[in-house]
Symmetry: D2
Subunit: 343 residues, 4 copies
């Protein structure tokens, strides 16, 4: 078994990591970190467990450590990071310097030139950017990122559609409250309401998408030249980001062509990789967050409502934002790192 740790294990995404790693066939959670105030407490005490499955009993009594490189045992093979981005920006480089491999969900450094931003089914080859990273930074460890939850929902569908020549994308998101963390959206803000703004989210979607869809030359990632415009909204759903996507392509595929391309998106032989990657619905009113977010144990993307219009293609896609869009994305990157021999 590979010995893994979770950095920032008590927050909403941290708890998802612990939940997803419970019973994992390859990874064994041996290290849990949190802010210094929780150091020394049992995980049960430190995490006020809020998921709707019970706290894993074998992890519950683990003593939480401070998020400090000196506190991480040397024989920890892989660290998952659910740190706030400012903490991640400070600590993750220190950990990589100290030799640890970090699969991080934190938003810092995602667009750094030598940091691979990876969705395994989409751009696994970008992982080789680690060689560049190690050269430039002199690290023994490595830092790998997964994209933002709203980006990760859409990009697997765009990657499949790129066979028709992706040119322009307009996307509106209807994002669940869990994306902002447990206390990120107050009930007064969102009951009987929608908030048509999520700070920084639109820029993340526009930039991260193009990096993910870009080409790794061996030295750098050349961004895809498609143009992406995003409009992001917070809606009163708990989990599952739904997105309306308008796409213009070089070719003129039919809706059936698009459905086939989505349904045939490549899958991987990794423990957390869903098969199919994209579940395509024929019913025009699907996917829906509550009904479809758990497709593929929360790791699949769902798509539907495919149609052609006067401006191009139009469809909807959905993924579970704290599983495929966060903790599950990092776990899958960890599995890829392991299978490709980077640990």
């Amino acid at each position: 078994m590979t010995s893994v740790g979770v950095l920032g294990a008590t927050g909403a995404v941290g708890q998802r990591f612990v939940q997803l790693l419970d019973g994992h066939p390859e990874f064994d959670v041996s290290v849990l970190t949190a802010s210094p105030a929780s150091a020394g407490d049992s995980y049960r005490e430190a995490a006020k467990w809020r998921l709707d499955t019970p706290i894993p009993e074998d992890v519950a009594e683990t003593t939480v450590r401070a998020t400090d490189p000196e506190e991480i045992p040397d024989d920890t093979d892989l660290l998952f990071s659910a740190l706030p981005s400012d903490v991640g920006a400070a600590v993750e480089p220190e950990l990589c310097e100290a030799g640890f491999v970090v699969s991080s969900n934190s938003s810092n450094a995602r667009t750094d030139e030598d940091v691979p931003l990876v969705i395994p089914e989409v751009n696994a080859d970008h992982l080789d950017l680690i060689d560049v990273q190690r050269d430039e930074r002199g690290w023994d460890g490595a830092l790998v990122k997964n994209p933002n939850c709203s980006t990760i929902t859409m990009v697997p569908t765009l990657a499949a559609i790129d066979e028709f020549g992706l040119e322009r994308v307009h996307v509106s998101t209807l994002q669940a409250v869990s994306g902002a963390g447990y206390s990120g959206v107050s009930s007064m803000e969102i009951l009987d309401n929608v908030v048509p703004h999520i700070g920084g989210e639109e820029a993340k979607m526009e930039t991260e998408s193009r990096k993910l869809l870009g080409e790794f030359t061996g030295a750098e990632v050349q961004y895809h030249d498609a143009v992406v415009s995003a409009s992001c909204n917070r809606v009163p759903t708990l989990d599952g980001h739904l997105e309306n996507v308008f796409v213009e392509t070089d070719d003129d595929p039919t809706p059936a062509d698009v459905a086939d391309a989505l349904a045939d998106a490549p899958t991987l032989d990794l423990p957390s990789a869903p098969d199919p990657l994209i579940r395509v619905f024929e019913e025009p009113d699907r996917p829906q967050p509550r009904l479809d977010r758990m497709a593929g144990d929360g790791m699949a993307v769902a798509a539907g409502g495919i149609q052609t219009t006067d401006t191009g293609l139009q469809y909807n896609c959905l993924a579970h934002n704290t599983i495929r869009g966060a903790a599950g994305a990092s776990v899958l990157n960890g599995e890829l790192l392991a299978s490709e021999g980077w640990l």
Copy 2:
């Protein structure tokens, strides 16, 4: 005072008509109709009143009539229609034939060539299509329509932006449950959920927008040649449709240019016409349905989040779907009909 009637007065939109007409300076409600099952009951009995203001006492004891041309007194100057579209399609022409002027919110006949589809602040001149209608149909009365609630939210903003040369529009809607009527959306469908499909809504937005923005030649309405693609979603809000709009124009206005154009949209001197027509927010997270749907007593459009992107303009707009988007729209059309001497 002008004597008016409300057809289909007991449903969700019908109740809004009664609420908005209570204390109206020009219109006096003398006729209320409903399905035959309710005929003979008092309005208090027939309408299970569900609005959060009390039932108007002077209307509560009015006896409800069947929706039947023979039941409408000849001296009723104006009829507002909140009929289901199939009933509207059958009854409204009979009423016009019998000499009544009907300002209708029902979705039937909106794109008939000789039926004016009107938002007074946008295309009041289309009302003259009534002459064509009377010629062709031999009616003494007249049939005037207001557009669909999701269309009416966006079109005032597009009309203002058309000074920059409107070319293409992509729009995603986040629509409130009241748009489907009191029982239209079950709680099981929408709690912790979004439904990314509203039957027929996308086509309505695409077609009605172009008719409203079109030019009346004296003989017909020539549709605007902008292309509109819409993606419609039902979200768990009670009232207020929010829309993310992406617009491409001939010119390249700055966000400030667009804000000015929206803020300066023309207003009218009619009792229900708001001033300003469009309330423009600087805060990026506004408008929001719960906070802003009652702007201008529910008759204003709110806009915000104006920005330019790599593909053009982007902004959000909002209107109260059962006031500006339904009953209030018909009342305003009625006020325009009265002021222009059509009654």
Copy 3:
């Protein structure tokens, strides 16, 4: 395997039956009925499947039959009924007359003197009322009922507390919308709202509780003489009825005594019986519907907030209303019927 059927299989509770029976170790679903309009369709067509797990594939292609005794094959060992109560009242006796054993969730006949109303962990011995029923009605089959969902949430806790001498109960319920069926509660009724009335529910709780807690003499059930007053509310939750219970007892148990009594409530060795029956929380803010409704795969009751006050005991309890409170209750009764040799 026991061959079973589900009557009324396409509705919300019917779909739960199909979901719970998928993979059942003893029961094999061979018959599905619905209204005549659906007869002849595949179950996939007839049931617009709305649960968040996929439709069981082996059942999806089963042809739906009309709910008519002549349509049920003779070799069907057990029928589960999710019929509307008026249909149940008409059809269930005919089926029992025809020799079928019916485990019914429908609300009809629950307080008929010779109809066992059973929660297996509470009053399994009442099943012997079947002998009385057969004598009186001349049936070869049998009719067994489970109680109403709000009753079933509370009664296991009252049964445990009865060791302290149950005297008076005041209970307020906070009931989920699924209890009213898929279209029972419209979103306009319940978003940002509570409805403090559920027709007939209070009387059901007051009467059914006393029958369940009563003593079977061999000839009849003598109702428990505790007094129960209920106040029932519909709240905006999807699943899980939460109840505030105030209890007065002969003895004066401490909260710890009560917690022990609840935690030690007897369990059964049946496939769907949870262990423990009652999950007792120490945290004062638990149980909560979203977090705890799936305890024991939706078959456990959760309890917490136990305290003593100037008027007696006070605590909260919770159960999943469409699993333990409906379909799961009938399945468990079916398992009891099988294990005790009634099939």
Copy 4:
């Protein structure tokens, strides 16, 4: 005009004070305080205004002061307090010492022996406790409190029912999220959920109710000897606390007797006092938070569902928790203080 100030004016209750005092016939807002961080800012800047009516323009440019006795001008006749209870506990006595009259919604000191806890329509005579307070504390000013929002919803109904001899009360509350302040309840906690615990709330209801219903002897308040047991729940509503009340009385009134007693509850001739005090519904499913919280401009109590059961009376009551239950309660107390000559 009476010159008034609002302490803690930027929070959720503080904003309600500002909204309710806008256009008040007797009170003119001249002072607004907040935490030191906001001192010097305009109110528009300091308060991120979140109510669904616009910020009052004449107050928007007022400069916010620190909540410090030295910052309050001597000629301020009356201070309304929306301070957090710990701040209130520290600052309110200093202000009273300095000669200010404080009408406070903060929860500190409500059960201090010499502090009047007042609902004007219920126990206006308790205001004379100010004489005792001034004697004991040597104050020139005075401190008057209104009760907790959940208490204030129920007590007007209990006061009316006390003519039948109030003995025991069991009450379950379904409380809106605004009661916890703007950020008090996160959306992750309450969407599709209920939280059956509000820290300290039950004890407040049990104690404050008995003080309010108690008798003022001229020297002290003798608590009413009725027993009150409360169970408090947070539900996903924005405003309006609904309560299920079970009451046992000496006499045996009929539901009609109770309805009459509630409908005839005394009203006062003060600007914010509603008439009637209690709106009684015959429909069994009313009152409902969304439909009825604004009765009497948010200052009335609504009641319905009156019935007699085997244990006594049962009914539901409702009030707007941030108007009648908080800011409006303090304003009404201020009006009473003014009319009785205490300013």
